[in-house]
Amino acid sequence: MDIATTQKPEAAPETAREPAIEARGLVKRFDDTLAVDGVDIIVPRGSITGILGPNGAGKTTTLRMLLGIIDPDEGMRRVLGHENPRDVARLIGYLPEERGLYPSMKAVDAIAFMGALRGLSLPEGRKRGRELLEDYGLRHAADKQIRHLSKGMAQIVQLLGTLVHDPQLVILDEPFSGLDAINQGKLEVLIRSLADKGVTVIFSTHVIAHAERLCEGIAIIAGGKVPFAGRVDEARDRIPAQVRLETSANEGPWRAALPASARRSGKFWQFPLPESGIEPLLRALIDGNAGILSLSIERAGLHDAFVAIAGEAAAASLVATSTGEMAA
């Protein structure tokens, strides 16, 4: 399945209209373990896409294949118009899940070194590094050794190192992991600002809230497969909206208008929005003297969609991972 989010204007050049990432049928085995089993993903340029899934689902392996760190056993991938991601390595920024910096390096030098790995000269990398640190409110940390920074600050430094060479595509593996709430908020702002500049951002996460707030498209990955890839709205639409009804009358002819799946929870009736819409139902309730006290239509959240698509087990694992991380 493809993620079909807003495309660039038709007047844009051919390369700009090409998706930033197009992968079909990616398969990766490690010895006897099938880590990724036929993943299809299309990520439009300039979009923010989240890869959602519990630990061990195959997120990191998928990202590593898209980056060219490892090659798929089967399938094709096209990144920024090239079949070999290594041919556009300097246009990509990557933040791995396992954060790492040299403890004895100064923050600005760490950023410059990461830029040098992507072709920037050291002086240019240092200059841009200072600018980025200043923009991010970390000017005071520029000349401090990494070992003297807090874990969150070091993580931000690494993220800035990922961006120092002005990449067109930024791939972030669990970027929110290990950050406090304030820095998570800052990171969300940063990701949005990247997308505003036309940078394509793809990140993996097991925290649904981040994907829900940031992403236009998501790919749900579980057990090495992608049961859903598309717009967030489409994922939500997999589950019909829920009607929540409170009536003054307990019994009456109006009860026949409720669908068979309606369940009573306290003083409320809950049931999926009928395919015929809300108006025929409203009419039947009024005509049947239900005495409507309140009626609301609640659209399904991404979590409900995830449960519906990936299954209860994957959702439980996702929640357990998130809860464990928050507790830590």
Binding site: L67, L80, R90, G100, S104, R118
Partner: protein, 423 residues
């Protein structure tokens, strides 16, 4: 210029330079570098102390006396004759001490009673001396006692001490035997120095990689530049560090030689001459280090913890010690199949060829050997990097393996490295 040139990964050499520059600067500016420079002092100090202590112990152990239990006149004549002979031949004859003895004196009982430092006892007369000693000493001192007794008898009879003719000396700079012995000593010394330096550096590069894995930075490197470049960068950074060390150590050594008024001309001239020998020594050091370092890097890439590194590195270290002994044995068998085997086997080749440079004048074999070693270095680095890519970059599995699993991975990876389809 293609998109790949401007947007693709850095070239192998440029990427290796970026990695090497960082490592070189980081190590050079670290406190550990001071310890690295001081490193050779420790084995030298240990060797000097151990040598001094050993000599002292040997000297003490060798200070055995020969007891003389003859008549008072004979004993005095024997001791006088011994002292006179010692002045001619040097301090190779044990000291003679006169023993108090009565008619009941039993030399066997005295020796077996392990009294004092007596190694042998001479009884009887000057005309018929009798030597009592353990079998080894009997064989060694029989002739000496006979000679000394003859001289003593001559002196006692009034014939006076023997007139030893004065030998006229003609000095030559060397001889075939001493040159040969000196060259082998140079070869052995060169091999030992090479081995110690290579082991020191290979361990350092291994620690460096483990630290890198601990810092979790390896994936950033792997994503940005070819893994071969990471390995090459690390190896060449450490090589550059070692060259700095060699310059420092060489300068200190030269200064030491000059201060003690000695020069290289006192030592046996190597087959290829000192300048080329030093040059080849530096090159073989580089090759040997790159070969062993790349093996250690492959091992390091397999290991997730320091304990795993120790477990995996130990067999490699032991194997390298065996390889060193192999090259040492091969050195003494010039032109044999063993020597050729040690030259062809990549890990022993630098040692074997350095030894050859010390004992043989031919230069062309070094050209061929260096070319072969360069090919092996490239193959080893590529195999190590391939192994790393194939076996280590598994999501979620890094650091979770047991040592036995890592070793299995290392072996299976080595044998399947060539089948990786990655460019």
């Amino acid at each position: 210029m293609s998109v790949r040139d401007t947007a693709g990964r850095l070239s192998l050499w440029r990427a290796a330079y970026v990695v090497a520059r960082r490592d070189f600067t980081a190590i050079l500016l670290s406190r550990a570098f001071i310890f690295f420079l001081l490193g050779p002092l420790f084995p030298i100090a240990v060797a000097v102390l151990a040598g001094g202590a050993g000599a002292q112990v040997q000297s003490e152990a060798a200070a055995a006396n020969v007891g003389i239990a003859m008549s008072a006149e004979d004993s005095a004549a024997m001791i006088e004759a011994r002292d006179q002979l010692t002045r001619q031949v040097g301090n190779v004859i044990p000291a003679f001490v006169a023993l108090d003895h009565g008619p009941e004196f039993d030399p066997e009982e005295v020796l077996e009673g392990r009294e004092g430092r007596l190694a042998a006892i001479v009884t009887g007369t000057l005309a018929a001396p009798e030597l009592t000693a353990p079998p080894g000493n009997l064989a060694r001192w029989n002739g000496t006692v006979s000679l000394i007794a003859t001289n003593a008898a001559n002196s006692a009879s009034g014939a006076g001490p023997p007139a030893y003719p004065e030998v006229r000396n003609t000095s030559v700079t060397t001889s075939g035997a001493s040159e040969n012995r000196g060259r082998y000593q140079t070869a052995q010394g060169g091999q030992l120095l090479l081995f110690l330096l290579i082991m020191l550096l290979a361990s350092m590069v291994l620690s460096n990689l483990v630290e890198e894995k601990g810092n979790k930075i390896i994936e950033i490197l792997a994503a940005a530049v070819p893994m071969d470049a990471v390995f090459m960068g690390k190896l060449f950074a450490m090589l550059a560090i070692s060259l700095v060390g060699i310059v420092v150590w060489g300068s200190v050594g030269t200064a030491g030689l000059l201060m003690t008024g000695r020069s290289l001309s006192e030592f046996a001239n190597p087959g290829v001459g000192w300048p080329l020998f030093f040059t080849l020594g530096a090159i073989y050091f580089g090759m040997g280090y790159l070969l062993l370092g790349s093996v250690f890097l492959a091992v390091g890439s397999m290991a997730a913890t320091v304990r795993e590194v120790q477990t995996l590195a130990m067999p490699v270290t032991m194997a390298q010690v065996l390889v060193f002994f192999f090259a040492t044995i091969a050195m003494t068998q010039t032109g044999s199949a063993i020597e050729y085997a040690s030259i062809i086997f990549p890990l022993s080749s630098p040692f074997a060829m350095l030894a050859r440079a010390a004992v043989d004048e031919a230069v062309w074999p070094h050209v061929i050997a260096l070319a072969w070693q360069a090919v092996c270095v490239a193959l080893f680095i590529h195999a190590g990097a391939t192994l790393f890519r194939k076996r280590v970059m598994k999501a979620g599995s890094q650091g979770s393996g047991k040592s036995s699993r890592s070793l299995k991975m290392l072996l299976s990876g080595l044998f399947s490295a060539g089948s990786d389809k990655r460019a």
